[in-house]
Homo-oligomer: 235 residues x 2
Amino acid sequence: MAEQAASWADDRVLLGRTSTAERVSDILRGRITDGFFPPGTRLSEEGIGGALGVSRNTLREAFRLLTHERLLVHELNRGVFVRVLTVEDVEDIHRTRALVECAVVRGLGEPPYVLDAMAAAVAEGERASAEGDWKALGTANIHFHQALVALAGSERTDEVMRSVFAELRLAFHVVDEPRRLHEPYLARNRQILRMLRDGNAAEAERLLAVYLQDSLERMVEVYRRRVGDDGSAPG
Amino acid sequence: MAEQAASWADDRVLLGRTSTAERVSDILRGRITDGFFPPGTRLSEEGIGGALGVSRNTLREAFRLLTHERLLVHELNRGVFVRVLTVEDVEDIHRTRALVECAVVRGLGEPPYVLDAMAAAVAEGERASAEGDWKALGTANIHFHQALVALAGSERTDEVMRSVFAELRLAFHVVDEPRRLHEPYLARNRQILRMLRDGNAAEAERLLAVYLQDSLERMVEVYRRRVGDDGSAPG
DNA sequence: GCATATTTGTCCGTATGTATA
DNA sequence: CTATACATACGGACAAATATG
């Protein structure tokens, strides 16, 4: 434990800029989005703090950060848990996505557009699909939509949606049927990209709206089977 | 100081539900949006903690909450400051508003719409204007647009935009010409509300887009004079 | 440039309150 | 109802960084 603390200090000297709490939250965020801490898991202060060699106060700061990213829920005097999304959450996430993503496409100016990041995400998805790595395919799909949002050129919008997409990943870990959930959308992403390349933003927007509607329906269907209507959420 | 701590404890017994850090952050948020702590102010741990009768650890948690709401900026080993928005921030805020608010109006279904909250905000603005309370008029304008966003019925979108509007208020405190900044928009809000009442969402969206564009231009113009192009931001 | 005082970053120990077995 | 486990919040301590003279 003391040795761990020493290595932390070394890191700080090396890269200097971030606080201990931020680095702890980075680690935990990775564990959560990777599914190592599945939704519903309780993160005890003593357990995690001991394992990572940081004090409770520092760890609590990291918890606060992740709570505000909606990845953890904090129940007074009970502790923090990895968030379990309800069906209503999933629906609201898709509402927000539809609102923002379609507005981004509609707000595009004159073609041509800078589509490198979206093309890269499609390629990433094709690689993952060829290797049968469905979890990676889900990640690639999210990258595609993040790149789409980035076309708006708004830092705030990017950040907001990054957090929404992180929530979406929580839902992925609950249903855990990655192939059925992600494979059908690779072709659709490719199609949307093609429309944008052709400068046909209107058709791209239409495809995107249908895409999101379908995705929501399939998600809700599978989700209901898995967790029941109440979502068995702690809150 | 000890007496203050005792009163805190009493409060907790009374209303029971929220943590101390949350209540502290509520107080500080009020001080910031009221302009009591203007942008650029440094909030010392000792000073604030002593005044409010809470420990440093608790206060730091409150700071974290407000930092994630973008109201404070945290500089390593230097402390927390009330955020000073740059011109780029103001532009990005308006980009986000245009994207979301216009998308909300476009996404409205069949009329009639539930416009009570928007009507109440207009009435609030008329009252403030009649009394010459321009700060309150600015608040009423924000309430109008929050109510507009709420028409989408998305909890996440509401929360996201609440934070964006809180940032906007920071900019208000920098320019500090409240009448010039807020008075022209009361009539426009009334007009948008009328269009929605008539079920003419398309025209309402057009008016809204023009509104936001004008508002941004005026804001940037006044803002540049006040803080210079760099925004004199700490970060 | 240097020495000092101030402030933050991190951690610990502990008393109290709350939830649960 | 009691006992246990845990979270909340406080105060103190020391190192490290920053600000000040």
